[in-house]
Subunit: 435 residues, 2 copies
C-alpha cells in the first residue's frame, strides 16, 4: 500500500492543461463482438417474444423455467420483502424514499396556455409517459437506492405503469431491491436481465408490455442494447464512470475529504476522485489520511487502482481558479468543502450536483438527501441534467387560432412559405385569410 502514488498537479505548471486532460481522458469502447451479440438477441426477442426471453434467461442466468409467468414477481411478493426487512433497513429506506419524493415533487411541470387579443390561444400541454421500463442490475451491483432514484421520479410524474426488470442469476433475489421497488411504486417486476430484458421492454412480448422509455444502469450488454433501441423507445443517458471533484479551502478535516474521495473511488476502478485546493499543506494532509485510512477499507483494492490511475490532487492559486477548473471539467459531483459555499455558487456553471459545505458528504446525495443520484458524467453536465421528473413528462404544443388570428397570421405564413418555395403551405394558410 505504501507505494500508492497519486498524481499531483499544479495549475501554474506549464503543461498543466495537458496533464489534466490526460487524467480526465476516458473513452467508452464500443465492442464489435458485443454489438453483434446484442443485435442477435434483440432480433430474436423481437421475433419470438416470451420464448426467446425464457431461453436466454435460462442460458445466461442459469435458471430452468419453462414459461415467462415463472419470471414475474407479484406485488404481494414485493410488499412481503418490505415487511420482512430488519427494522433499521426498512426505516432508512422509507425515510430515503420520502425525502426523494418530496424533492422530486418540486420538479413537476404543469401545462400552461395564454390567449392573445384576437382570441388566439397558445400553450403547452404536459403529460406523463404512459409506461416506463426500469432496468436494475443483478448480483453484487443491485442497488436499492437506484430503484428509488429511477422509479420515484417516474411515479411522481404520473407514469401509469412502471415495469422493473432485474436478473436473478441462479434465482437469487435481493430483498432490499424488492422492498425498494414496493416503496417506489413499481407495478410489475420480471426477473430477467441483459439485452433480452431491454428487448422485451422495447418491443413487448406476449407477457412483457412494451414501454415508452427505458431507464436505469447496466453492464456493457445492457448499455449497448439501450443504444440500439433508442428511437423505438426513449432512453436515459448512457453513463460513464462516476466522478467527484472536491474543492476545499484547506480547513475541512482531511480524514473527511479522504473518505469522500474513497466513496467515489470504491464504485469501480475507473471512477475518478479529484481534490482541488489552494492550500499545499492540505494536499499533504489529505494524502497522509489516504495512506492511513486506505488499509482499513473493505474495498481497498478497487479504491487503490482507482486512485492510482485516475485521481488527482491539484494545487491552485485561489478559489476562483478552483471553480474555473471545475467548470472546465463539468464534474458529475462537485463538493464545495468551504466555509461559505454560497459565495462560490454563482461562479459554478457546470456540475451534475453541487454539495455545499463541509457537512454535505457526497454519500448523503447518493442515498437520501432528496435530489437524484443519476447524474451526467464525463463532462456531459455541460449540456445535460440529473435524471428528474422532467424525463418522465413530455410536452405537446397547443395552437388554436381564432378566425381573426388565422387571417392575420396567415399573411405572414404565406410570405414566408412562398419564400421557401413551399406553396402548399402558403395556400393552406391563404385559405384562412378573410380579405
Amino acid at each position: 500500500m505504501s507505494e500508492l502514488s497519486i498524481t499531483r498537479l499544479n495549475s501554474s505548471q506549464d503543461d498543466f492543461k495537458e496533464q489534466l486532460e490526460k487524467i480526465l481522458a476516458w473513452e467508452s469502447v464500443s465492442d464489435v463482438k458485443v454489438n453483434h451479440i446484442v443485435d442477435e438477441i434483440l432480433a430474436e426477442v423481437k421475433l419470438n417474444g416470451d420464448a426467446a426471453v425464457v431461453n436466454y434467461t435460462n442460458r445466461f442466468d442459469l435458471t430452468s423455467v419453462t414459461t415467462m409467468a415463472e419470471l414475474e414477481l407479484t406485488k404481494e411478493r414485493l410488499a412481503q420483502a418490505l415487511d420482512t426487512l430488519p427494522e433499521d433497513q426498512r426505516s432508512a429506506l422509507e425515510q430515503a424514499a420520502q425525502r426523494i419524493r418530496q424533492y422530486h415533487e418540486k420538479q413537476k411541470s404543469d401545462s400552461w396556455q395564454y390567449t392573445e387579443a384576437d382570441g388566439t390561444m397558445l400553450g403547452q400541454k404536459v403529460t406523463p409517459l404512459d409506461r416506463v421500463g426500469l432496468y436494475v442490475p443483478g448480483g453484487k451491483a443491485a442497488y436499492p437506492s437506484s430503484v428509488l432514484m429511477n422509479a420515484i421520479p417516474a411515479h411522481v410524474a404520473g407514469v401509469k405503469e412502471i415495469i422493473m426488470v432485474v436478473p436473478t442469476p441462479h434465482g437469487e433475489l435481493n430483498q432490499l431491491v424488492l422492498a425498494a421497488a414496493s416503496l417506489a411504486g413499481v407495478d410489475r417486476v420480471f426477473t430477467i436481465g441483459g439485452a433480452q430484458a431491454v428487448a422485451a421492454l422495447a418491443y413487448g412480448t406476449e407477457t412483457v408490455p412494451k414501454v415508452d422509455k427505458i431507464v436505469g444502469p447496466g453492464n456493457i450488454f445492457v448499455a449497448t442494447a439501450k443504444r440500439a433501441v433508442f428511437g423505438v423507445v426513449g432512453i436515459d443517458m448512457i453513463a460513464g464512470p462516476s466522478e467527484i471533484l472536491v474543492i476545499c479551502d484547506g480547513k475541512t478535516d482531511p480524514d473527511w475529504v479522504a473518505m469522500d474521495l474513497f466513496s467515489q473511488a470504491e464504485h469501480d476502478e475507473d471512477a475518478q476522485s479529484i481534490l482541488v485546493t489552494p492550500d499545499a499543506d492540505f494536499i499533504d494532509k489529505v494524502e497522509t489520511s489516504i495512506r492511513r485510512l486506505l488499509p482499513t477499507m473493505e474495498r481497498k483494492e478497487i479504491i487503490e487502482v482507482s486512485l492510482r490511475n485516475r485521481a488527482a490532487l491539484i494545487l491552485v492559486k485561489d478559489m476562483e481558479q478552483a471553480i474555473e477548473i471545475s467548470n472546465s471539467i463539468a464534474p458529475e459531483h462537485l463538493e464545495l468543502s468551504v466555509e461559505n459555499p454560497e459565495e462560490l455558487l454563482p461562479l459554478v456553471r457546470h456540475a451534475g450536483a453541487i454539495f455545499m459545505g463541509r457537512h454535505t458528504a457526497e454519500a448523503l446525495g447518493d442515498y437520501c438527501a432528496g435530489p437524484n443520484h443519476v447524474l451526467p458524467t464525463s463532462g456531459t453536465a455541460r449540456f445535460s441534467s440529473p435524471l428528474g421528473v422532467y424525463d418522465f413528462q413530455k410536452r405537446s404544443s397547443l395552437i388554436m387560432f381564432s378566425a381573426d388570428g388565422a387571417s392575420k397570421t396567415g399573411k405572414i405564413a404565406s410570405v414566408l412559405a412562398r419564400g421557401e418555395g413551399l406553396t402548399a403551405h402558403a395556400r393552406s394558410a391563404e385559405y384562412r385569410i378573410k380579405d
Copy 2:
C-alpha cells in the same frame, strides 16, 4: 394524375391494425458506406482542424478557398442581408421572430430552492448552455424558418454564443437564411456543411469554437455525424420524415383539408398525411378535392408519391375512436379540425403539436404561430417533446446540509450504504454524525 390511389382504411375491418401498421412502417436505414465516410471525416477534422475543413469544403461544396477565415461571415454581413430584404419578407420574418420569441419566453425554467426545518437547503440551479452550434442545410432545403426555430429558443435560454454553419455550394448564399440568423441572435456564421461542419463544432478547430450542443436538420451525412459525436456534445433528436394526422368531423371545407394534407406531403416523398373521420362522405369529398387541386400544385410530383405510398384516409366509428387511433400513432402534427377542439383535448395523450379548430392550419405552426416547428416524429411523441428553451438549459442539483441535518440524514445513509456493501460511503456519512 387520375390513377392516383390513396389507401383507404376502415377501423371496423378485421385487419385494420395490421394495415395501419403497414402504412406507418418506416425505418431509418443506417448505411455502412455513409458511416465509413463520416467516421473518416470526423477523424480527419479532429486531427487537422481548419485545414481539413477547408479541404472538405473545397471538395464537396466546389469552392476554392485557402483559409478558414474566408468561410466566415461577419455579423455586418448578416445585418446587411436583413436590411436589403424586400419589405414584405423582412416584415414577415420580423413578425414571425417576435411571435416565436414571445412563446418561448414562457418556457424558461428558473432555479429554485427550499430550506428544511433543520436548516438544510435543497434546490436546483438552472443555467444556460455556454455555446451552441446550429446546422442549417444549404441549397434548396435552406429554410429561414428553421433558423428562427432553432436559434431563438437558444437565445431565449441565455446561451452566450450561437454558432451557425450553412454550406454554400458554389458559394451561393441564401439571403433569407442570413437575414433570419441576424434576427434570431446568431453570433457567428461559417459557410461550411456536411460531416466536416459537425466535426468542427463538436471538436473545435483553430477558428471554429467547440460547442456544447448541436441542433438543426441535415442530410444523411449530417445525421450520421451528429449521432457519432453524441456524448462529446449534446444533440437534438434525429428526425424522421414529417407527418400530419388530421381528425375532422366532416364539416371543414374539404379543399382546406386537402391542402393541409398537401402541405405535409410536399416536404418530401416519405412524408406522411393521414385523415381520420367518422364521416364516409367526407372522405370522398376530400379525395375529390385532392384530385382537383393536385394538378395545380408546384410540387405535385413529390406530393403524388407521398400520397400514393404513405397517405391514408381512415373511416372511424366516432371521434373518441379517432383520438384513440391518433394516440396509438403519436403524430408529429395533429389537427383537430372540428367545432369544439377543446372538448377532445383532454383525450389527446401523445402528439408533437396540436392544431385546434378549422382555422388552425398546420402551416401556421411551421412559420409564425409561436411554438416550435421542430417536433418529435415517427411516434417518438410518446416520450419526447418539441424543441424548446429547456433544450438549451440544464440543471444542477443543490444540496447544503446543516450540521444537524447531516447528522440526522447521515444515519439513514449509513444504514443504506452498508446494505449495499459500500462502506466508504457509510463512513463518509458517519463522520458527519454528531452523537
